[in-house]
């Protein structure tokens, strides 16, 4: 064992209680840092998975007109967006989109507002005409089914899939029928399944019908409102959106663009929780600074005698930095264990959340980066807390100390 480490270990025992307090601060700081990051990242990741599983990674809508004219707004690539949102020749556009390597699936969607009349109540709703197999390829619809059977829907031309909130409002259950009123027509459909995405805005208004049936109901043969695209790597959505847009001349929006507000909220939450919990580590660091500073004052005689027998200034600084390092290593190790245990415990806590996503327990993410960030923060704080007392100890002149003591 290096002599400086040996001395540091013994010196640690002289202020055992205050060192233990500092150690406890580091342990709890690191632990809480990890568990809060696991939670906020967990909810953020879950939100992103929900978004990707319902609205897809990319959306293609609004044709980009080549020149100035009647349009919705300026397109990012120049020109104007068509005020008519429909996709022209959706088959050709879909085929073109499928040529891109990162594209995992494309679903053609026709949507429109309708009026729904159930057994007791009526409600405005939005019909989504989809090809089931294509749509299952770009969403988590299969896993979002609460009751009923997708195969029944596949076999039933007038079958419908209802959002859970809408079904509850209309007092409708699987097997029951309702009518859709639009453009002077009234048609009856049977509830084949009820789904729940967890996003209340979707679950309270969206009805899935077969694409052909929707086109017939809405009297828009061959029409498509937009294309929903799934990607193998959703992280590349921004780059892919720009690339696809430049080729097909339709507005392509990534999930990051569409959900920018929510993503900013999650990022702010993650940052603020990290900042809040870092305060615990900083307070522990201040305690440690105080303890080490007191120790330097208490150990001036020992510093003088060590210097008199040939210990260098660097050795003296090393003795106090070692003490910080020892507290840091033990604190980081125990804090990481505490963080892991707390993360596991929190992930088993029941909590019912509906609105932006659906979960019945806390959602956590296990990431080594949370541990690295917590340990990095603690290392920085402990290094600062030990550096200044160590520097002071190293600067002490042995002659001054001995002369002062001898007087």
């Amino acid at each position: 064992m290096p002599p400086n480490l040996r001395i540091a270990l013994r010196f640690l025992t002289t202020r055992k209680r205050s060192m233990l307090m500092s150690l406890a601060g580091i342990v709890f700081g690191v632990g809480f840092f990890i568990v809060t990051q696991a939670q906020t990242s967990g909810f953020e990741d879950f939100f992103i998975r929900t978004i990707l599983g319902t609205n897809g990674a990319l959306r293609v809508e609004y044709r980009i007109l080549p020149s100035a004219g009647p349009g919705l707004e300026a397109a990012p690539a120049g020109g104007h967006l068509s005020s008519d949102g429909d996709i022209q020749e959706p088959g050709r556009v879909t085929a073109a989109v499928r040529q891109f390597g990162n594209v995992a699936g494309v679903s053609v969607i026709l949507q429109a507002g309708v009026n729904l009349v159930g057994n007791v109540f009526a409600s405005p709703a939005r019909v989504y005409g989809v090809n089931l197999d294509d749509h299952l390829g770009v969403t988590d619809l299969a896993r979002q089914i609460l009751r009923g059977d997708l195969e029944d829907y596949r076999r039933t031309p007038n079958g419908a899939l209802l959002g859970s909130v809408l079904a509850a409002w209309l007092r409708l259950d699987v097997g029951e029928t309702f009518t859709v009123e639009t453009r002077g027509q009234t048609r009856r459909y049977r509830v084949c399944a009820i789904y729940e995405t967890g996003i209340r805005d979707i679950d309270k208004e969206r009805i899935y019908l077969h694409l052909d049936e929707a086109r017939s109901l809405l009297q828009r043969p061959g029409a498509a409102s937009y294309l929903q695209i799934a990607l193998h790597d959703p992280g590349r959505a921004r780059e892919d959106a720009a690339q696809i847009q430049s080729v097909i001349r339709y507005m392509v929006s990534s999930w990051q663009q569409r959900e920018k507000t929510w993503l900013e909220v999650f990022r702010a939450l993650r940052f603020s929780s990290a900042l809040t919990v870092s305060a615990i580590i900083i307070v522990a660091g201040l305690g440690m600074f105080n303890t080490l500073a007191m120790l330097v004052l208490e150990k001036t005689k020992e510093i003088a005698i060590l210097r008199s027998m040939g210990y260098t200034r660097r050795d003296i600084a090393g003795i106090f930095l070692w003490q910080g390092a020892l507290v840091f290593v033990v604190g980081a190790a125990l804090g990481s264990l505490l963080g892991a245990a707390a993360t596991w415990g929190v992930s088993h806590l029941p909590i019912r959340i509906r609105g932006v996503f659906s979960t019945d327990s806390f959602v956590v993410t296990w990431s080594p980066w949370h541990y690295a960030a917590a340990i990095g923060t603690a290392a920085f704080v402990v290094l600062l807390a030990s550096y200044f007392p160590a520097r002071r100890a190293a600067r002490l002149e042995p002659g001054d100390i001995v002369r002062g003591t001898a007087q």
Partner: protein, 245 residues
């Protein structure tokens, strides 16, 4: 308690061999001022001093005459404002902190009035501290040498005891053993018996002088005790920052 032994300790392997008759320490025209502003005092006024190996020197004089200041200058714990200091033939007064620290480790052993042991360490560990820093011996050899030194100062049976659990006399004997650990050319002792009763003063003085003489080391002793001073080979008297005798 083991009786202090005056047998000649074997030289530590790898450490320098003493050369009796050579100057272990020398200083010329040494000046030192202490304090600032109106309180600035000329503590050492052109002091010259030589300490040869195998001899014991007593520096005596009234309080505040500059005895301890001279000792810290000779031991490189403090820097002179003017003058030269040689240790084992090497000019050290203008050397950088690293060289001065290395010279302290190799050539100088200190014994202070207030022991200055590391109380969290055992007697054995305290004696091993200078050897660990010098790093010239194996851990086993260091431990064996430390045990031999502790036996020589009569503390062979208390080697494993924490310094905090030793009496004042015992602590000072551990400090003597520690000062001898690296076989330094010179041992500088600042009133080593000033805090001890008469019996322990005798023991510590005898140990320090006999062990140093046997090993060909120079001992410079600052003391107020005229009886101890009379038993040294050379007695130098200081007054107002100068030797007067």
């Amino acid at each position: 308690m083991s009786a202090p032994s005056s047998r000649l300790l074997p030289p530590a392997s790898g450490l320098h061999a003493p050369e009796p008759g050579n100057a272990a320490l020398r200083c010329e025209n040494l000046h030192r001022y202490l304090g600032v502003g109106d309180g600035r005092t000329h503590v050492l006024r052109g002091v010259a001093f030589t300490a040869e190996r195998g001899r014991v020197y007593a520096v005596v004089g009234p309080s505040g005459c500059g005895k301890s200041t001279l000792l810290y200058q000779l031991g490189l714990l403090d820097r002179p404002d003017d003058g030269q200091i040689w240790i084992n033939g090497g000019l050290m007064s203008g050397a950088d902190d690293g060289l001065r620290t290395a010279a302290r480790a190799r050539h100088v052993g200190f014994v202070f009035q207030f022991h200055f042991l590391l109380l969290e360490f055992t007697a054995l560990e305290n004696v091993m501290l200078p050897m660990r820093k010098l790093g010239r011996l194996t851990p086993a050899t260091m431990a064996a040498r430390a045990r031999a030194l502790l036996a020589a100062v009569g503390l062979g049976d208390k080697a494993g005891r924490l310094a905090a659990h030793l009496s004042g006399g015992e602590q000072q004997r551990v400090a003597v053993a520690r000062a001898l650990a690296n076989e330094p050319a010179a041992i500088l002792a600042d009133e080593p018996t000033g805090n001890l009763d008469a019996k322990n003063s005798e023991i510590v003085f005898d140990l320090l002088t006999s062990l140093a003489r046997q090993n060909g080391q120079s001992v410079v002793l600052v003391t107020h005790n005229p009886e101890l001073a009379a038993r040294c080979d050379v007695t130098r008297t200081m007054r107002d920052g100068q030797f007067i005798g």
